[in-house]
Amino acid sequence: MTITKATTHVTQNEALVFERSQTGRRGYRLPALDVDETPIDELLPAELRRDDDLEGVPELSEPDVVRHFTRISTWNYNIDLGLYPLGSCTMKYNSRLNEKVARIPGFAGLHPLAPAEDAQGALQVMYELQQHLAEITGLPGISLQPAAGAHGELTGVMMIRAALDARDGTTSDEAKRRKVMLIPDSAHGTNPASAHLSGFTVKTIRSTSEGLTDLEHLRELCAGGDVAGLMLTNPNTCGIFERNIKEICSVIHEAGGLVYMDGANMNALVGVARPGDMGVDVIHLNLHKTFSTPHGGGGPGSGPCCCTTELEPFLPVPSVVKAEDGSYKFDSDRPQSIGRVKAFYGNFGMHLRALAYILTHGNDGLREATEAAVLNARYIAEGLADTFDRPFDSPPMHECLFTDKRQTRKGVHTLDIAKRLIDYGFHPMTIYFPLIVQGAMLIEPTESVGRAELQQFVDAMKEIAREAQEDAQTVLDAPHTTRVGRLDEAAAARKPVLRWRPAEKAAGA
């Protein structure tokens, strides 16, 4: 009954802005035009001007705009409401202080094409962030330009391509053959996609029963002499540290390839171990994960690339350097660079937040955060060990992996468990990833949660396991406490409706 009544609840039934529009309403006021007006036809001939009078664009009052977005916002789960244990996504607390820093007018109001001498503060921010990230990864070369993780991957593998071409040339048969990028079957989808965009052909490496990269298979694949490189996530997407990392890297190096590390899981390593010390040649970091820049419902992100001195010449341009006189400037003088991957210098607003994160934590705090992140994952692993199936028994790092094996007997699957968690007030974990594990549930609590809430989560998961046995239907029908129930995604994809149209037109469509 509650639900039926809730459907008449205004906040629960906020329409689209277009449906709310009312002709003549305004949510803005501009200062009056303060120059003498030129007849519009003298400015622009009619054929270059819009003739649709922006039909369909909504007209709302300011209070209605605020109510609209406030109402729909209440349909979202968010970090400030509780645990957001999406494995591989590192949903940690987003400091309000960093938001304040990013809004300081001297930064927010600074135009990217302002002369460098009038933007020294911004360059200093980028320079110092570069220094700190280099220290954290143990890789001295760096570019802050990539806008997200996948963008950083693309940058990294393109650098590998450029480095190999510089080394082997592009003409010899040997060089032409060197096009294979090795990627474990557990990797994130962006890895193969990025490799493909950079002109590589992807070959997949098997994982062992322990959830580690299969060294034997790796050696086999390297035998062909066509290996350009490897893309490896470490800890891998099963939450396990690739303990053979050094050997893996040397196998690749001996085969004439280079090693790219996907840094999405750096939250398990900051202050504890450095990719540069493991033999990695290039890595991307997700500032919107490890360094807490807010995820924003799907971005903006920031995916800086860090590399060895050998690969430095191939980094995107420009990067920030410090002159003798202590001033900062952009350096574009890098003839072998892969070029630009984005206009301007990357998502500067995220650079500010990440630097603020590094400085408020301090070097001790960075390590403590890593320890807490791993400790919390261990706590959950331990708490759920008797209740859910664990595909691998190596101790988890910052995230732990379970499956729905024990629950499927009763017809309850990972998806159902995830949806049911919502009724207990938690965001579901990452599900069905990594692909190599059937019914995978990847749980990453991060360091931003206390023991009490971790226990609440463990209790909820156990309760759901019990329900799966005694009252499966409740789980299969979950969630029960949300504005809408499970949505028919298959139907949505079959006949996609991707935009609003005025009623009559819609009918036509």
Partner: protein
């Protein structure tokens, strides 16, 4: 907690790491700062950004427009800015509905059928459009106007380097300032023609004419817009026949913030919907028939298609797209028009004044929106520097930054935020500098 887990010390948490990869020393980064210390530090650095305190006529891909206060206050709701990508629709309907509204607004402004949930920015959106054109036409030559933003062109060059796509160049007519497209350039194997309008020099291109010629050869017309405010006044690319429209959405309520985060708009025709890169939100219903929204057509994307995906993009610019959505909604139909008209009027005023200055000229004849090239009597970079120092105004962008052969040219951008007094100060300054 450690002991509860049978661990003696925090070090033991990392027993699965071989000793020889462990960092045996503290990180060589600074010790922790208190909130107040951090704010002072950043305020001090911000104070060194003198340019942020001057009236400015810089545009060229990043534009200063007024953003209503409600935008920042709404996007700072935890429900929006601390949420993840909406993978679980039942508890992400706020984000999903906003994306659907964003897609619709982008379609309305660009005059297209389908728009995605955003790209990193305008430059990467253009590069993705080039890749998409190749997928759609199976042709490998793409002609790009020389009047496209130089950094956009550089990004495209990087993206196509290993995609087997060759980029050709369309020259700019030195009297009109518009891109010239000679039939010869349009050989059979052309996948797409890429033009920016208003172009990098501020000139509004004759897109209709382009569309006819381009379509005649079976190629696609890709239109790039860096100043989204122009949508309020200029004929939409869709109405002119564009097949793909990409734009930088920063003008819609997003601070210039030294170059990012911005938001890339990407729109195309219905028939190409399944070739579009990035995320798409669509309508879906639950058992009770309640309307909701989900991410859809995921089979295009990397997490399903892996190397065969239409793009590698995953995280996009969600929160910035939301800011743009709120901006478009708050200004709405009339506000978007009024902003565009004020930009055009003020730019016209500034252009008249500067054009009348002794020794200064306006090299291009084509109509402009809110940016235009000025040819100075002397070397522009020095001129602008003197202007900044003596008159505390950033007069524009010296084009020598991108092309050495234009020592005396600079690009002036005027928006609704530039007061008449600032424009007059600029004119007076140019006269004296």
């Amino acid at each position: 907690m450690l002991h509860g887990l049978g661990l003696g010390s925090a070090e033991e948490l990392f027993d699965s790491l071989p000793a020889d990869v462990l960092l045996k020393r503290p990180l060589d980064t600074p010790a922790a700062l208190a909130e107040s210390e951090l704010l002072e530090l950043f305020e001090a650095m911000a104070a060194k950004n003198a340019a942020a305190r001057r009236p400015s006529f810089l545009g060229a891909g990043a534009y200063s427009h007024y953003a209503p206060t409600i935008i920042d206050s709404l996007i700072q709701r935890s429900e929006f800015f601390t949420a993840y990508t909406p993978y679980q629709p039942e508890i992400s309907q706020g984000t999903l509905q906003a994306i659907f509204e964003f897609q619709t607004l982008v379609c309305q402004l660009t005059g297209m059928d389908v728009a995605n949930a955003s790209m990193y920015d305008g430059s990467t959106a253009m590069a993705e459009a080039v890749l998409m054109a190749e997928r759609v036409t199976k042709r490998s030559r793409v002609l790009v106007s020389a009047a496209v933003h130089p950094e956009y062109l550089q990004v495209a060059e990087t993206y196509v380097a290993h995609a087997g796509i060759e980029l050709g160049r369309l020259e700019v007519d030195e009297t009109s300032g518009r891109t010239s497209l000679d039939a010869a350039a349009l050989e059979k194997d052309v996948a797409a023609v890429v033009v920016q309008s208003p172009n990098f020099y501020g000139c509004v291109e004759d897109l209709k004419a382009f569309a006819e010629q381009v379509h005649a050869t079976g190629a696609l017309l890709v239109v790039v817009v860096t100043e989204a405010a122009s949508f309020g006044l200029l004929r939409s690319p869709g109405a002119c026949g564009a097949d793909i429209v990409v734009a930088e959405g920063q003008s819609f309520g997003v601070p210039v913030s030294f170059g990012g985060p911005y938001v890339g708009l990407f729109a195309t025709r219905e028939k190409y919907a399944r070739q579009i890169p990035g995320r798409l939100a669509g309508v879906a219903y639950d058992k009770e028939g309640r309307r909701g929204f989900v991410l859809t057509l995921a089979t295009r994307e990397q997490h399903i298609r892996r190397e065969k995906a239409t793009s590698n993009i995953c995280t996009n610019e969600g929160l910035i797209a939301l800011a743009a959505t709120i901006y478009m909604t708050a200004l709405g139909r009339r506000g978007l028009q009024e902003v565009a008209e004020q930009c055009a009027q003020k730019a016209a005023y500034a252009r008249r004044q500067i054009g009348a200055l002794e020794g200064f000229s306006l090299p291009y004849s084509a109509p402009v929106f809110n940016e235009f090239v000025v040819r100075a009597p002397s070397e522009a970079e020095g001129l602008l520097r003197r202007l900044a120092e003596s008159h505390h105004v950033t007069g524009g962008l010296a084009l020598s930054r991108y092309s050495a052969e234009r020592p005396n040219d600079f690009l002036v951008c005027v928006t609704e935020t530039n007061k008449r007094a600032d424009i007059d100060a600029l004119v007076a300054g140019l006269k004296q500098s």
